[in-house]
Amino acid sequence: MNDGSVPLLRAEGLVKTHHGGGAPAHAVRGVDLSVARGEFVAITGPSGAGKSTLLHLLGGLQRPDRGSIRLDGRCTDSFSEARWAVERRKAIGIVFQFFNLVSNLSVADNVELPALLAGVPPKRARAEREELLAELGLAGKERSMPGELSGGEQQRVALARALVNHPPLLLADEPAGSLDSKGTREVMRLLSRFHGRGQSIVLVTHDARLASAADRVISFFDGRIADDAVLDGAPPRKQGTAGVLELRD
């Protein structure tokens, strides 16, 4: 097989049940999913459908009860926690709803830390950080502490941190879930921009506006894929987009 035919991410038969206080919760109940290089996939569904659990499985933050995940053709089934941590440093970037920045580190240090941990020389880590922060409109905020920034700014720092090592895959778990509508549009714009440059993205969101930035939308219900639709921008319809905007007489 050549590189083009190996999916960046391939999950087969994923199952995950949470055993909490009450009855066992079947969060993920048999999911097959393949993400091609350069693809932008959104996973939508009601809260509690298990979509965040699925994303956590894909990023190795939780381990499946059954099933298998391949990253770029490599089987991860026997990966240790430490090995997954390495993948998350180099191959997978993750952004979360609540940013998860290190609160007592400056913006610059938050972004540089994963690069330094990955063995990037400090000079290059700084150059990468400067470039990303400028790109994300955060130049001048290097010395700020996360608590001094707005939610939208913190999420942009988190995005810079996730992308500083140029991971082939970006996972985003409700990245606009705690942002206002302006922040949501900003996240949408940035994800689209990085995707436009070839970044592969898997996005979990309940926000259809955000999901519509993706090439492909998976509807997740009750632990399963209910629909998997490629958005082609040319739906068979009578009126076209203009019909939605038509102001009636």
Partner: protein, 171 residues
Amino acid sequence: MRLPLLALLARGPAHGYELKQDLEQLLGSAYPQPNVGQIYVTLGRLEKSGLIEGEDVEQSSRPNKKVYHLTDAGREALHAWFEETEDEPRVRDEFFMKLALAPQTGLADQIALINRQRRQYLNTMRDLSKLAAAESRDNRIAQLLIEGAMLHLQADLDWLERCQEELEEPE
């Protein structure tokens, strides 16, 4: 189109082509470009019902153009328009009837109906996102029109999700 044209004439007299340009400028690329023929037809009807009056203005080397102004009755109609509130948008009736009747006919599956409808909404949402990105950010009226359409679609999608949650067969 009738009342928006009246509203544009409340500022002062104008001819048909000016009104078309004013509408375009106000609503941006988001709004389907008004057809100039349709504008002239509407102006003709408004004149017939006494809400506006047209005056021929001679132009050298071109046919006369008609400049319209608002009448008192027209101003009255505009007051009434601004006074009224509008009906709420309705649930997509036709889709709802399909969903309600599908099980009895045995001809369609409810979940398949929901999935197909969702695909269309998502595609439209994508088109609207592109439109919003293409429209100037400074045209707040046009941006608000697109955002309104997106929020309505979001509500329709949320409702489809609720339908799916309720109607999905439990195992």
